[in-house]
């Protein structure tokens, strides 16, 4: 029987990262993935990642996937696609279904990196065509180029719900609203803000009462919930939609590990049933490792590091890497992983109510309930300041591990510091050149350039803009405030699409001076926007 040093199940971020790391140390590796394309969820992540440089912050997910795949190929890693691992048996034997046969192979070590599946909620009409997981909708638009529908309701305000909502809008869907039974938005405020300023309403403390239609969704009814999450009678609202996306969390796909005899545990904070494992990701079955969502729901960034740690640990076990270099490398990676697990959204903070930032600043309640900051609230955050001439206004108000804005500014105007969850501070003594690199590098699209003295009566506001078609210079449209309400007429002064911006275009608009701290989005015609 064919024997590998490491068999990796799943060619997603964790699996591919592990494969590259293991191959680098000379291990003979096979990667099996049930899908027709490698990359797991990475190839549909068209947004920019958070983190610091070592976490590939500001790089779009699919580019990270492409780079990983290229590296794996260069290192001669065998990646077998359409290869379904159907079971793991005694002696770390794996049965993999490929084409019309089942193959038996063995690994001295195995890494299971099978990821997660989407949770569902049951409500009348949930089995109608048109109700789907948000991840499924994302696969349709970003991998297959198919729109799931025209008018979408998103259920769930976590990062998946927010990111997919934005991407559906980028594809031309109308987002009718975001519903969540929670009173507060679960995902990053910056993700919510970029949707809110397009005019999308957040229905927090609401539930989906039913989806209507006979053979597909033709509408939904939502309603406010009481303390027991039951709909309060009389609060029902009918919304005209053809698609309902469900983004209510993920569950680890850990069945293979259960089957392989790993000790399992069910932990809500990890999203469901996961194997018990040590810091290297090794389960109770010696040589059987896990990395990524299958070991507890997190982000692709942490999955990649976990994959590398598992590969190094396996390399040490099999003698491909000495004890000392392996331990040193693992410590470094664990520190990097730890850095990602800091801040308000850290796994340890799940379910906790956080009222203040690390800096002791009160969090915006409006951001958490409506998806946007009230204008007067911006001033208490260190990313806001006023000065003569062009300067950045950073509307980053939650502690998220992320610092590209600091790294890209050629004039060092922006400070995050060593603690990468700290809120960025705009240095009043440095001179902003208006290059816009910070605007384009901000994965949360929370940085704007404001020039209050564009002319006697006007200010210019530069916004990140990721919609097509790009408006032509000179277009007269309307400026929208943070809630998506039109506030004034705006003229497009420039649209920059520098390759360094990586498709986050910089749209600069001219607005009346008093609107410089209000105008945060541009719409071609007011009639196309709600509010």
């Amino acid at each position: 029987m064919k024997r590998y040093d490491m068999i990796i199940v799943g060619a997603g971020p964790a699996g591919l990262s592990a494969a590259v790391e293991a191959a680098k140390h000379g291990m003979c590796v096979a990667v099996f993935d049930e899908n027709a394309k490698p990359g797991g969820q990475l190839f549909k992540q068209i947004h920019k990642f958070f983190g610091s440089k070592e976490h590939q912050a500001k790089v779009r997910g699919f580019r990270i996937g492409e780079a990983l795949l290229k590296q794996a190929n260069e290192l001669g890693v065998e990646v077998l696609l359409n290869a379904v691992v159907t079971g793991i048996y005694a002696d770390k034997e794996v049965i993999v279904r490929h084409n019309d046969t089942v193959r038996h192979v063995k690994g001295d070590t195995i890494l299971v990196a099978t990821g997660a599946s989407e949770n569902m909620i049951a409500f009348p009409g949930w089995t109608l065509p048109g109700v789907m997981g948000a991840g499924a909708a994302q696969t349709m638009i970003n991998l297959h180029g198919v729109l799931p529908g025209k008018r979408v309701l998103m259920v769930g305000s976590g990062n998946v719900g927010l990111v997919v909502s934005y991407q559906l809008m980028q594809c031309g869907c109308e987002l009718v609203g975001i519903v969540d039974v929670a009173k507060k938005i679960g995902g990053y405020g910056v993700h919510a803000a970029k949707i809110a300023r397009c005019g999308v309403p957040f229905y927090m403390g609401h539930t989906i009462v039913r989806a209507e239609g006979t053979d597909h969704v033709t509408g939904v009814v939502i309603g406010e919930v009481d303390e027991a999450y039951q709909c309060i009678s009389g609060t029902e609202k009918q919304l005209d939609v053809d698609t309902v996306c469900i983004a209510v969390g993920l569950s680890p796909m850990s069945q293979l590990l259960d089957m392989a005899g790993c000790q399992m545990q069910t932990v809500s904070a990890k999203g469901g049933t996961v194997p018990v494992c040590n810091a290297d990701g090794e389960t109770s079955v010696e040589g059987l490792y896990v990395a990524g969502d299958v070991s507890g729901i997190e982000e692709a960034s942490s999955a990649m590091i976990e994959g590398r740690i598992a590969a190094i640990s396996a390399a040490r076990k099999l003698g491909y890497l000495g004890e000392a270099p392996a331990s040193e490398e693992i410590s470094k990676l664990q520190a990097s992983l730890e850095a990602l697990r800091q801040g308000m959204f850290a796994p340890g903070n799940r379910g906790k109510i956080i009222e203040q930032t690390e800096e002791g600043i009160r969090i915006s309640n409006s951001l958490l309930t409506k998806g946007y900051l009230e204008e007067q609230e911006i001033e208490r955050f260190p990313g806001f300041h006023t000065q003569k001439g062009i300067h950045p206004v950073i509307e980053c108000t939650q502690n998220i591990p992320c610092n590209p804005c600091q790294d890209v500014c050629p004039r060092h105007c922006i400070m995050v510091g060593d603690n990468i969850t700290a809120l960025p501070v705009v240095d009043e003594n440095s001179a902003c050149s208006g290059c816009g690199l910070c605007v384009a590098s901000c994965s949360g699209q929370a940085i704007f350039l404001v020039n209050d003295s564009y002319d006697q009566t006007h200010a210019s506001v530069t916004i990140p803009y990721e919609f097509l078609p790009l408006p032509a210079v000179g277009t007269i449209g309307v400026a929208l405030d943070r809630s998506g309400n039109p506030v004034c007429e705006a003229e497009v002064l420039s649209v920059k699409a520098n390759p360094a911006f990586d498709k986050t275009n910089l749209l600069t608009m001219k607005v009346p001076k008093e609107m410089s701290q209000k105008a945060r989005f541009f719409a071609v015609k007011s009639s196309e926007q709600k509010g």
């Binding site: 079971g87 048996y89 005694a90 034997e93 049965i95 089942v102 038996h104």
Partner: protein
């Protein structure tokens, strides 16, 4: 204070649950203990669902025939649970002359016990089941055999026993039986002590360790058998199927899925007798075996495989017996992989035995003290 009842039953499989139900109907108070958290998690939840008489040892036949005649027919109604019993006959298939000789011998034995079993040609077998491959040259045919759903049958007995007041304690691992003044009296678990005048041990292979505490042994071994189930198919055929060499068996359930089992031949030399994980080879083997008899099922998908321990008695038939040397103790184990179909009848007569009534079927062939050396 010890929890007490008239009878304590150890094991919540079909034997334990059925006995508890029939005892409760007689007005006895019963406690059922199981080491597992789930009721009926042993062979009762893992077998292929055969309710057959043909192919059985003749010592077992009268009890099995009693069950089919008096219990299975109305079991769904009696339990208010669809046990999916279907009496559509049993074909035991042969592909070679040698197979036919084995089948003829079995059929003859069965006929001697009054069971209607006949030999049919390949063509006749295909008339009964048109999906059979041409490789089949003959079969034995028993029209009164059938199959049922072991899961709902066991849980149906459990549900009704519970409704009649039987107390079930799961997650209670029995560590010892204790006598008091010469008679059985206490059942000691990891958590507590239970007390009764009568105890039934119906715990599969684990019965052996429990019985050791009162100095009794039943010679049996432990084998892991594997089973698989397909996605649901439109109704095709409902006969129970087997083969002369027992390389596979199975049926289509009322639900539409096919349940198939079989042995790879490597079961007895298993390395790991602690884990009930499926092996790397058996499901593939069963699939090949099925396709040879039923090519039409080639593209049907297997959705799940599982495995379960059988308690294989050294002489191939179970022990259903009281034990005069330990008054009050009754033993029911060693069912050897055919305990499901016979389960209702076994439960029925065990309840009679425990209620000190004369069992409806003579149980002398199932004595606990029948085992002897070769000579």
């Amino acid at each position: 204070m010890a929890k007490t009842a008239d009878v304590i039953i150890i094991g919540s499989g079909i034997i334990g649950c059925a006995t508890a139900y029939y005892l409760a109907k007689k007005g006895r108070t019963v406690i059922v203990l199981d080491q597992n958290d789930t009721v009926g998690n042993g062979g009762s939840a893992r077998n292929g669902g055969g309710v057959r008489q043909s192919g059985r040892d003749k010592r077992e036949l009268p009890l099995m025939m009693f069950g089919i005649k008096y219990l299975w027919q109305n079991l769904s109604e009696e339990l208010g649970t669809d046990v999916e019993y279907m009496q559509k006959g049993n074909l035991r298939l042969g592909k070679t002359e040698e197979h036919l000789r084995i089948l003829s011998r079995l059929a003859e034995n069965a006929r001697a016990c009054g069971l209607d079993v006949s030999m049919v040609s390949g063509a006749e077998a295909r008339e009964i089941c048109p999906y059979l491959s041409d490789e089949v040259i003959g079969a034995s045919w028993c029209p009164t055999d059938g199959h049922a759903n072991p899961l709902t049958t066991t849980l149906g007995y459990y549900k009704n026993a519970r409704r009649l007041g039987v107390q079930f304690y799961t997650g209670e691992s029995v560590t010892a039986l204790r006598k008091y003044q010469g008679k059985i009296r206490y059942v000691v678990t990891q958590n507590q002590v239970f007390e009764a005048q009568q105890v039934l041990v119906a715990a599969g292979y684990e019965s052996r360790e429990i019985l050791k505490s009162v100095g009794i042994d039943i010679p049996m071994s432990k084998l892991l058998l594997e089973t698989l189930v397909t996605e649901a198919q439109p109704p095709m055929f409902y006969q129970m199927l087997g083969t002369a060499t027992a390389d596979f068996y199975g049926h289509q359930s009322k639900h539409g899925s096919f349940v198939f089992g079989g042995s790879s031949g490597l079961e007895a030399v298993r390395r790991d007798f602690a884990s009930d994980a499926s092996t790397n080879l058996t499901a593939s083997y069963i699939s090949r075996a099925i396709i040879r008899y039923f090519p039409v099922l080639s593209d049907v998908k297997i959705v799940r495989t599982w495995a379960g321990w059988i308690d294989e008695c050294v002489d191939g038939v179970p022990v259903l017996s009281d034990t005069p040397e330990v008054p009050g103790l009754v033993i029911a184990c060693g069912f050897t992989g055919h305990g499901f179909g016979i389960g209702p009848a076994a439960g029925y007569v065990l309840a009679q035995l425990l209620a000190e009534e004369t069992p409806s079927v003579d149980l002398s062939a199932f004595r606990y003290d029948r085992f002897r050396a070769k000579f």
